[in-house]
């Protein structure tokens, strides 16, 4: 009978790019049970949108996620535009799709690199990120920034695509085509890679539906669900593509789905560039949005992204709710890790392409009996932390001065 130990992965760990804590109970190298602890990264994004105008909120929403920034801002704008009764031009819709698919390429290449790095395959990691750099250069030139492109604006897009940029895009897509074909060959043909990825982090079709998994995680288990097909927005209805599904239902399947999705994305980018209609890119968007509430969906690289906006007729949204795709994928995480080896845990965590800070939200719990809310204000929180350190570590923190917050 071997001893059980609890190994914490996180909050600070080389495998995690953002803080989160996974407590794994091990027996030998096998994981008996896992506890997922997120919540280290709350940024108050939704709240800060409420005190800003729609244009300002857009840039907050764009920074929900560092990788799928375009998806979030598009999803938010779909809500805002529907509330304001504004319809974007077709050219703007095509440019949004173009950016969205380039973003998918960059996100999936990033994931491929991270997954390769987690299993120690740094050579593949370097190639994937080298190719991602090509996409990032395109995005920087089209949008103006490498990750938070800032191309979206209420009522359309801020920048047009020039013929020279189209040439750049097409030549980069040629390079990517060749590289992606090689990655497909490699993913299917390297036995060491297959030995590490196959039968790891299983989540069957039924479990995917039960836990509400979205995106490549669900599609790897034959869940044929893609918002681009199910409820197309922007110009997705006009662009032909296949929804990639796989039967493996494990990390290997997720890899295959992502790599093949990139191949589809390259085709979509080519189609969008070739069939881009002429016309304006921007229609006027009112400062004050009529009252109402809207839910909008968008297929981010990581899965289904849901935004909810409630307007009250003023310049500011009254309530914004962001359901990032990682939030849907967390629920099955403990189930995926349990029963696998410790060595696979970082890989399984990474396989949903998690975005920790996108998902962290604060809740206020109301006590139904007393009507009390248990919320700390700033002073109480500080007092609590001082007491905590005194009790747990015998360290008096009350003398530490906190700098005054200043804007200018």
């Amino acid at each position: 009978m071997s001893k059980k130990v609890i190994v914490p992965i996180g909050p600070q760990h080389p495998a995690l790019k953002e803080p989160a804590c996974f407590s794994l109970t091990l027996e030998g190298e096998k994981v008996l049970s896992a506890v997922v602890g997120v919540g280290y990264n709350h940024r108050g994004l939704e709240k800060s949108c409420e005190s800003r105008s729609y244009i300002q909120s857009l840039y907050i929403i764009e920074r929900v996620c560092g990788i799928c920034s375009h998806s979030h801002s598009t999803c938010f704008l779909q809500c805002a535009e529907e509330l304001a009764g504004v319809e974007i031009t077709r050219r703007a819709a095509y440019i949004r799709v173009l950016m969205g698919e380039l973003e998918r390429l960059h996100s999936h290449l990033l994931w491929l690199g991270v997954a390769a790095h987690l299993i120690g395959f740094d050579t593949l990691f370097c190639y994937a990120w080298r190719d991602r750099e090509l996409v990032l250069d395109l995005l920087a030139d089209l949008g103006g920034n490498r990750v938070n492109y800032g191309i979206n604006t209420p009522g359309g897009v801020r920048r047009d695509v020039t013929p020279e940029q189209i040439q750049d895009i097409l030549s980069t897509m040629d390079i990517l085509d060749k590289q992606l074909a090689y990655y497909v060959e490699l993913a299917l043909g390297d036995t060491v890679l297959a030995a590490r990825l196959a039968n790891v982090g299983k989540l069957s079709k039924e479990e995917c539906i039960h836990f509400g998994a979205v995106g490549p995680t669900a599609r790897a288990a034959e869940v044929n669900y893609d918002i681009r097909k199910v409820g197309p927005t922007a110009a997705y209805a006009e662009i032909p593509f296949n929804v990639i599904t796989d039967t493996h239902a494990d990390v290997f399947g997720r890899t295959v789905v992502r790599v093949l999705e990139m191949v589809e994305s390259v085709k979509m980018v080519r189609y969008a560039v070739a069939n881009m209609p002429d016309g304006d890119i921007l229609v006027k968007f009112p400062r004050k949005v009529p009252a109402g509430e809207v839910v909008s969906r968008y297929e981010a690289p990581r899965g289904e992204d849901v935004h909810y906006v409630k307007a009250n007729g003023s310049e500011h949204p009254e309530r914004v709710r962001v359901r990032a795709p990682s939030e849907a994928n967390w629920h099955g995480m403990a189930h995926m890790i349990e029963g696998d080896y410790l060595a696979d845990a970082p890989l399984i965590i990474a396989a949903i392409d998690p975005c920790y800070s996108c998902t962290d939200r604060a809740f206020v719990l109301n006590n139904n009996n007393t009507g009390e809310q248990q919320v700390f204000d700033w002073k109480q929180l500080r007092q609590y932390s001082i007491d905590f350190y005194k009790k747990e570590h015998g360290f008096d923190a009350s003398k530490i001065k906190i700098a005054e917050k200043k804007h200018f």
Partner: protein, 310 residues
């Protein structure tokens, strides 16, 4: 006496080993980087890393036994340096050859792995403990095929001395072709011994932070890393002596040939490291016992049969 001291401390002993292992680390890293289409480190990077670590504060965990914690890196370095003295460098003969030094060298090279295990165990940290257990599990998997792969040529040569083996294959170079399976087994097992990809589970960065060395810092970590680099040189030198029987009488030319041979081994090891993903510990155990050991065993049988026929 003075010459012996010079040999032990300067060439080909401690100082040369130190400088050569830093150069080896650079070559290993630059090949690794170039295969990944990266720029790679500048030539002084290993030395800079070493000096930086030496200058850093050394932190010892409260629960660890301080004396053993401090002594372990020095043990590792000493064992590797001692092993280097029995490897042929400038010619067929090593510095102090004797019958059976192959066994001594192989056992001396086991000591660093044991110190890694103890270092992890002594650190009394979760990650290091798991790393230590993995290092031990790994030792039991690769050690047997590695020993057999190096002993098979010795059986054919009819001697347990590295210098004797080198001399035998220098005299009969064609027999080395018989040992090709043993060479392949040795190259794979060495990756396990040096805890390099695909067998770097004991210090798998993305799972266990730094594995056995998680709690080590400063000067102690610098010595440990130096020992690992030196181990690479020693192992490459052994492989070069046993499997590449090219020797000349001239000491300077012999040294040049030694450098070329070890570089070839380093190149092979670097390529091996670049193209593999890290496998799981249980996959490694299965692989070593299921594939490596039978091949090494077959090699020994073949060599015994050939020896009998001769």
């Amino acid at each position: 006496m003075a010459l012996s001291l010079f040999n032990i401390l300067i060439f080909p002993g401690f100082l040369f080993l130190g400088v050569y292992s830093l150069a080896f680390e650079y070559i290993d890293r630059i090949i690794y980087a170039r295969m990944q289409n990266r720029q790679g480190p500048p030539w002084f990077q290993p030395l800079a890393d070493f000096l930086k670590l030496v200058g850093k504060e050394t932190i010892i965990p409260e629960d660890a036994d301080k004396n053993i914690f401090k002594a372990l890196p020095i043990f590792a370095m000493a064992a590797v340096t001692a092993a280097f003295l029995y490897v042929p460098i400038t010619g067929v003969n090593s510095l102090f050859p004797f019958e059976g030094d192959l066994i001594v060298v192989l056992y001396l090279l086991t000591i660093p792995t044991l110190t890694f295990f103890l270092a992890g165990w002594m650190s009394s940290s979760l990650y290091s403990t798991i790393g230590a257990v993995r290092a031990m599990t790994q030792l039991f998997s690769y050690e047997v095929p590695l020993f057999m792969a190096l002993l098979a040529p010795a059986i054919l040569a009819g001697t347990w001395s590295l210098s004797g083996i080198a001399a035998y294959y220098h005299a009969n170079p064609l027999w080395i072709l018989v040992n090709i399976p043993a060479f392949l087994v040795a190259i794979v097992a060495i990756q396990g011994k040096l805890e390099r990809l695909p067998f770097d589970m004991p210090e798998a960065e993305t799972e266990l932070c730094a594995g056995t060395f998680t709690e080590y810092s400063g000067r102690l970590l610098a010595i440990f890393r130096m020992a690992i680099d030196a181990e690479l040189v020693v192992v490459a030198a052994i492989v070069a002596a046993v499997f590449f029987p090219i020797f000349v009488a001239n000491a300077w030319l012999g040294f040049l040939i030694f450098v070329i041979k070890t570089l070839v081994v380093a190149f092979i090891l670097a390529i091996f490291r670049s193209v593999m993903a890290r496998i799981r510990i249980e996959q490694m155990v299965i692989f070593c016992w299921k594939y490596l050991t039978p091949v090494a065993l077959l090699q020994i049988v073949i060599n015994i049969v050939i020896k009998g026929v001769l």
